[in-house]
């Protein structure tokens, strides 16, 4: 890789993948990292670890704020591996001039979100940087949890049912709209902790093969990465993928595909067909009433892809997100 870092390198699509694989994975190569899951399992233990840094403008948005995001986001990554999220470390990088009251609101929001999963912050760090060095506030959190059942994409097999836990793209659309001062009534981030919905799946002993929260790059990035890594084709029924009226309106106006926009409280799950009805039922009863079966993993001749089937008999690819998300001209 050569050249300079552009925003596309951080947007969760092809360019991010390339940067991670060609620079970071190449440098830090080891088998635990190479699994490329949302959380890694420490050798020979049941300890799952994940880290994430958060920067969002505006800091407070409909449905959440950077604090809620920093807690829920990392705890969700731990939960996606099949672990109970228990501990977090937190690092605050603060721009000179930030009002302490703003920081207090963020911290209070973090506390509230920790309570949702019963997790605790056990270590931290504070840095203040000169005005202009960053935009107000960045937070890094590292999460730890105890493994209950190892969920990872290598366990996905042909025939697995694919479930999406709720309406997609709400966080991405909400932030995009807030940043550009486009007002869409009812458009809110889906930012939330997923553990309360996932714990009952473990308690019921359901055999979940893999889970991914559909953050940057949206559900499209999850399914495409799964297709690339498993060699299976992910065949989806477009009409069954939940999209809210607000997000649909946003997408139509700006010409932005909802499948590539980030979720912060929606995840994708692969399970054996025998378990999928029970998974959906439990998700419905634990805060995700729109969870839906959207397709299956299949073996096909040729290259593995993600296919989107319409209700009227046509099909198309669901593309791996790539480049910065830009609105169309007209």
């Amino acid at each position: 890789m050569t050249g300079i870092i552009q925003l596309a390198h951080g947007s969760g699509g092809l360019e991010s993948q390339q940067l991670i694989r060609e620079l970071f994975f190449a440098a830090f190569d080891n088998p635990l990292l190479a699994e490329a899951e949302d959380a890694a399992l420490i050798d020979g233990s049941k300890l799952a670890v994940s880290t994430d840094s958060f920067t969002v403008s505006p800091l407070f948005f409909p449905g959440g704020d950077i604090g809620k995001l920093a807690v829920a986001g990392t705890l969700n990554d731990v939960a996606m591996r099949g672990a109970r999220p228990e501990y977090l470390t937190v690092a605050f990088i603060i721009e000179e001039g930030l009002e302490i009251d703003v920081l207090r609101r963020v911290v209070s929001s973090m506390n509230k979100e920790l309570a949702v999963s019963g997790a605790r912050i056990i270590a931290g760090d504070t840095k203040v940087v000169p005005r202009g060095a960053i935009d107000q506030l960045m937070i890094n959190t590292t999460g730890f949890g105890t493994l209950i059942r190892d969920c990872n994409m290598r366990r996905i097999s042909a025939g697995d049912h694919l479930i999406i836990s709720g309406p997609v793209a709400r966080h991405g659309a909400c932030i995009f709209a807030a940043r550009e001062e486009i007002s869409i009534k009812g458009l809110m981030s889906d930012c939330c902790s997923l553990w309360p919905a996932i714990a009952p799946l473990h308690e019921a002993g359901l055999d979940i093969h893999a889970m991914r929260d559909a953050t940057r790059g949206g559900v499209s990035a999850v399914f495409n990465e799964w297709a690339q890594q498993t060699g299976l084709t992910f065949s989806l029924r477009q009409d069954d993928i939940p999209v809210s009226a607000e997000v649909r309106g946003f997408s139509e106006i700006l010409g932005i595909d909802p499948y590539v926009l980030a979720c912060e409280g929606v995840f994708v799950l692969a399970a054996a067909p025998v378990d999928s009805a029970a998974v959906i039922d439990l998700l419905h009863r634990h805060g995700h009433p729109q969870a839906a079966l959207v397709g299956t993993a299949e073996v096909v001749q040729g290259q593995a892809t993600v296919l989107l089937h319409s209700a009227y008999g046509t099909k198309r690819r669901m593309e791996y997100p790539s480049g910065e998300i830009l609105p169309r001209i007209c």
Binding site: I4, E246, R248, R317, P327
Partner: protein
């Protein structure tokens, strides 16, 4: 947004789509020969590929994709101008989103220049330039305007308001082009196209009337369409009906937004501030008489090409590369006919303009239809 959802449920309803597909099949059976229908607009091309509408049509009907993607037809010397303008000292360059990733002749895009430090912003409403210019009185604010008849009125309105508010630091680099002139070139060029699906948003502004002379002169049906599956299938059906009935006329199948006369106020604004010129060399196509718009000379003090000529290279014919973009834009080839498609040419590493822009036909095929 509930209303949007309700509308979409109608125009994307599977029963309606299937019913149209069946009626098209039946009607196409009586066609004397296969039909080549061109959708001029890049938005239509994307809708056709996104919904897979071509998969619903009988073999006798071939949809070919036209030059209606403003970024695809923008010649490299004009992209170079935008890049040069962005690198002027104390300058804020403002444009529409799709312009950000198009590389100029040196392989560098606005996105890349921005990452290297230039102040480049994209926006949805050109009128946001007024705020940027007012907030930055010590900077030169240049709006790189691009688009067909749909976006020109907003540029004209921007100019009018900049005049009214005496925002002397705001300039415009006009890359506005016109649809009927391009359609005429295609019709005059050898009869490869039997009928047109005419653009929806362009026609909202310019009116159904702007195609009348083409229909009379070349006897090819022109049907104006919206962007939903039902709209486009309806347009195809209406074209077949015209051909079967031996007529050629302008038919407005997007009546919920398009009037015969179009948007009078928008047209007046454009006429006040812009005049046609021939110096725009459509990429892959070349010079089309009277097909582009520049600021009238009375507004030369707002025209970036007049004020910063050192940044704006003279029009030069481009050497066609190995790709088939020129033929694709003329409707003579499909993206998958190109030997570079998805092999040497991808959205991350585009060789031709049809792959660069999101609205381009090659980008649409790559996104929705690529086999591997």
């Amino acid at each position: 947004m509930k209303a949007t959802d309700a509308l979409l449920q109608m125009v994307r309803h599977r029963d309606a789509i299937r019913a149209f597909a069946e009626r098209i099949s039946t009607a196409a059976a009586s066609l004397p020969q296969p039909l080549r229908i061109m959708e001029v607009c890049g938005g239509h091309t994307h809708a056709i590929l996104e919904y897979g509408l071509d998969q619903l049509l009988p073999d006798k009907l071939r949809l070919v994709h036209g030059p209606g993607c403003p970024v695809c037809v923008l010649p490299q010397h004009r992209i170079d101008a935008a890049i040069n303008l962005a690198q002027r000292p104390d300058t804020i360059l403002v444009t529409l989103g799709d312009m950000m990733r198009v590389p100029g002749s040196r392989g560098v895009s606005l996105q890349r220049i921005r990452a290297a430090g230039a102040d480049i912003r994209y926006l949805y409403s050109p009128l946001d330039c007024l705020t940027i210019a007012a907030d930055n009185p010590d900077k030169t604010v240049i709006y790189v305007a691009i688009g067909f008849e749909t976006t020109t009125p907003m540029t004209a309105l921007l100019l009018e308001q900049a005049q009214n508010r005496q925002l002397d630091n705001l300039y415009i680099h006009s890359n506005h082009v016109l649809v009927p002139q391009a359609m005429e070139l295609l019709l005059a060029g050898g009869g490869a196209i039997d009928a047109f699906i005419a653009p929806g948003h362009v026609s909202v502004m310019a009116g159904a009337k702007q195609y009348q002379h083409l229909v009379e002169k070349y006897r090819a049906p022109v049907v104006i369409s919206g962007f939903e599956p039902v709209d486009l299938l309806d347009a195809v059906l209406r074209i077949i009906s015209q051909i079967n009935g031996g007529v050629a006329e302008v038919d407005n199948a997007y009546g919920r937004f398009v009037k015969t006369t179009g948007n009078d106020k928008a047209q007046q604004l454009v006429a006040t501030y812009f005049e046609p010129h021939d110096d725009f060399l459509w990429r892959g196509i070349g010079r089309i008489p009277g097909s582009a718009l520049r600021l009238r000379s009375a507004y030369g003090d707002r025209d970036a090409e007049v004020q910063f000529p050192e940044c704006c290279p003279a029009p030069t014919e481009e050497r066609p590369g190995n790709c088939l973009c020129g033929s694709i834009l003329m409707g003579l080839a499909q993206p998958t006919d190109c030997p570079l498609f998805a092999v040497g040419c991808t959205p991350q590493n585009p060789q031709g303009s049809c792959m660069v822009s999101n609205e381009g036909a090659c980008a649409a095929y790559y996104k929705y239809r690529r086999e591997s």
